[in-house]
Structures are given as structure tokens and as C-alpha cells.
């Protein structure tokens, strides 16, 4: 059985409207894959950065997966939330990346987008805050049902990932 280690951290979020942010993250993978050790979901700290440009989460990721087939290569998906001075949370967007297949150290940026509602929704959220959210979070990392969704860009999440693989070449799989 081939093994995959994902070792690194969620560095932070930047290019957002405001950088008082936190992030919920999770791992999605196909049925050929199993998480042997490590947390496959989590939530970062809330950062109020002094310089106000880059929310630092420094959130460790350490995952040990095994697979019996390549289909369903694992993905990491993110939800970025903003916390205002009253402690209210507002969704800033979604995004996903595939875990890199090439072993080694990677710095990966994930673009973040959020759904846009109708004109009336936008008027409401301008005065009341908040905004539309996805009812099915799996939409973030699946390619189905995106057609009717209207979205806008909202920022980026940075990750540093170290990838270690084992026994892939035993099954004739080349990743680099």
C-alpha cells in the first residue's frame, strides 16, 4: 500500500478586504484513500495582525494517508471567515487545492471566492452584513453543479507543504 505524508502549515490569508481572519479547513479524498494518522480538519486561530495586511495562522498540518488507488487524490478545502470587533463572524469565501503530487517542499497559494447573491441580497448584506453561503460545502471541491453559481474573488490563502511519498514506485506510479 502506498503512503503519502503531508507535513506543513496553513501560513495565513492575504489580499482580503480586512485581515482579521480565521480559517476552517478540511481534507477530502476518494474511497481509495485512508487517513492513518493526523487531524484531517480543523480551525485556525483568529489573527488581528498589527500591520493589517496578512493574517498569520501558522496552523500545523501533519497527515499520514494510505491509498490503494490513485483516484480521489486528496484535496484540502478552506473556508475563510472574518471576525469583526464585536465578535461577529462573516464568511469571506471558499477555496480548495489538490495536495501536490510531487514530493518535496511546496509553497502553494489557494484563491478564495465567495458566492454573490441577487441585487436585493447585495443591498441587504451591505446594510446588515453577512451574505449568501453554500448549502452544500462539498461544492467547493467537486466539479458538479457549479454552473449556476455566481461568485466573486475575495483573497488568497497561503500554505507551506512538505510532501513525502512511499512505495508509489512499487506500483509503477511516477509522480515526478
Amino acid at each position: 500500500m502506498a503512503e503519502l505524508h503531508v507535513i506543513g502549515q496553513l501560513v495565513g490569508g492575504y489580499d482580503f478586504h480586512s485581515c482579521d481572519l480565521f480559517c476552517k479547513w478540511g481534507l477530502a479524498h476518494g474511497s481509495n484513500w485512508n487517513v492513518i494518522e493526523g487531524k484531517s480538519e480543523g480551525q485556525t486561530q483568529v489573527d488581528h495582525p498589527k500591520d493589517g495586511t496578512f493574517a498569520k495562522w501558522s496552523h500545523p498540518i501533519d497527515l499520514h494517508l494510505s491509498c490503494q488507488g490513485l483516484q480521489g487524490w486528496p484535496k484540502l478545502h478552506f473556508q475563510v471567515w472574518h471576525e469583526d470587533i464585536f465578535g461577529r463572524n462573516e464568511l469571506y469565501g471558499y477555496g480548495f487545492i489538490h495536495v501536490p503530487t510531487v514530493p518535496g517542499n511546496h509553497e502553494v497559494d489557494c484563491v478564495i471566492w465567495k458566492p454573490v447573491g441577487s441585487f436585493m441580497d447585495q443591498v441587504t448584506s451591505f446594510f446588515m452584513g453577512g451574505g449568501p453561503e453554500l448549502s452544500q460545502e462539498s461544492l467547493v471541491h467537486s466539479s458538479e453543479d457549479r454552473l449556476r453559481l455566481r461568485t466573486e474573488s475575495s483573497g488568497r490563502v497561503r500554505l507551506k507543504l512538505g510532501i513525502i511519498i512511499r512505495n508509489f514506485e512499487k506500483f509503477g506510479v511516477e509522480t515526478s
Partner: protein, 199 residues
């Protein structure tokens, strides 16, 4: 090579880390020292005798682009059977406040690189914020700032959602990573061209 080391049957690999806690950048403060240690999983053990240290107190220099320089040596060797629990450097930076008390200026952590070679690591630093507005006022009036009970908290992923922090500055560590028997155990980290596997 003419002489081959004896092939070990065990599934142990070694990770040697040499380098330095080089310097730090903190715009607002002066007179800082740094405490560093390593956080690693239960499959890992430290072979050398010391895996932690406290640097000297460094003042801002007079040259224009100066930051806090520590140049503090790191020299650790780890032994493990499993990459899970890969070691993280955990640093906490302290300074002396106007009342002469030690006060934390930042916590941070980063995983060691998974590839051999020389790496420069910038460790982002942050301090926890008071949980409520009242505590914020109290700590502003009579100090001290909130601190983490266990500085290694920052290397764990659990319980982070309830912490509010304020980030500022970074610590730079330069490390050289040497690995032994890693690819022999079947692990690939993208540097296979350096090893001669006869598989």
C-alpha cells in the same frame, strides 16, 4: 563508494539539523531574547543531548537596516521510524517591559523542511490577545499581557479556534538538513537524484 556501511534491518532513519537562530524583526520593541525548542511526535527521539536553548538579549544595532541578531547555534539529531510527527521548531520571544518585567513578544512555530539541504525559515510570530474588552483594559492598566501556559501550544492544531492573537514580526532560522536512511526506508521526498537506489 568503496566501503558500504552495514545494512540495517530496522526501519529507523535519522534527521540531523544544524544551523542557527539567526535574527528577528520586530518593529516596535528593543532588547529581545528568544527561547527555542522542538516539538515532535511520539515516534521521534532526540539523539543529541540538547534540543532547546535560550539566546542572549539582543539590542537593535545602529546600522539603518538592523534587526535583532542572535546567531544562536542549533545542532540536533532526531531518530524516527515514521515521518508523522515531523519536528517543528517552537520559538518564543521575550523582552523586558518598562517596569522591568519579562514580557512575551511573540510565539511561533514551523515544521522543519522535509528535504535535505540549506533552508532559511521565517517563523511568523504572534501574541495571544485578552479574551474580553475588560481584560484588555485591565492588562493595559496593570499588565501583564496574556501568555500561553505551554509555549508548545502553537505547534498543535487542537484548540486553536478559541484563541485570538495579534501577529507581528518574525524570527529567521537558517537550518541545514541532513538525512540518513530515509530513502532506504522507501520514502521519497523529491531528492532521489542524490541517492543511488538499486531497486
Amino acid at each position: 563508494m568503496a566501503v558500504r556501511p552495514p545494512v540495517s534491518k530496522s526501519n529507523v532513519f535519522l534527521l540531523m539539523v544544524t544551523g542557527e537562530i539567526e535574527s528577528a524583526e520586530f518593529p516596535e520593541y528593543d532588547g529581545l531574547y528568544c527561547n527555542f525548542s522542538f516539538f515532535y511526535g511520539q515516534d521521534w527521539t532526540v539523539l543529541s543531548n540538547s534540543s532547546e536553548g535560550i539566546t542572549q538579549t539582543s539590542m537593535r544595532g545602529s546600522s539603518p537596516a538592523s534587526n535583532f541578531v542572535w546567531n544562536f547555534p542549533i545542532d540536533v539529531t532526531f531518530k524516527s521510524t515514521n515521518p508523522f510527527g515531523w519536528p517543528q521548531i517552537v520559538v518564543s520571544v521575550y523582552g523586558v517591559n518598562s517596569l522591568g518585567r519579562d514580557e512575551v513578544r511573540g510565539y511561533g512555530s514551523i515544521h522543519l523542511p522535509v528535504t535535505p539541504g540549506r533552508h532559511s525559515l521565517d517563523i511568523d510570530m504572534f501574541v495571544p490577545e485578552p479574551a474580553s474588552k475588560l481584560q484588555k483594559l485591565v492588562s493595559w492598566l496593570i499588565g501583564p499581557r496574556p501568555e500561553l501556559v505551554d509555549p508548545k501550544f502553537v505547534a498543535r492544531g487542537e484548540g486553536r479556534e478559541i484563541t485570538r492573537v495579534s501577529s507581528q514580526g518574525f524570527v529567521r532560522a537558517n537550518v541545514n538538513i541532513v538525512m540518513k536512511d530515509f530513502s532506504k526506508q522507501g520514502y521519497r521526498n523529491g531528492t532521489e537524484r542524490f541517492s543511488n537506489n538499486s531497486s
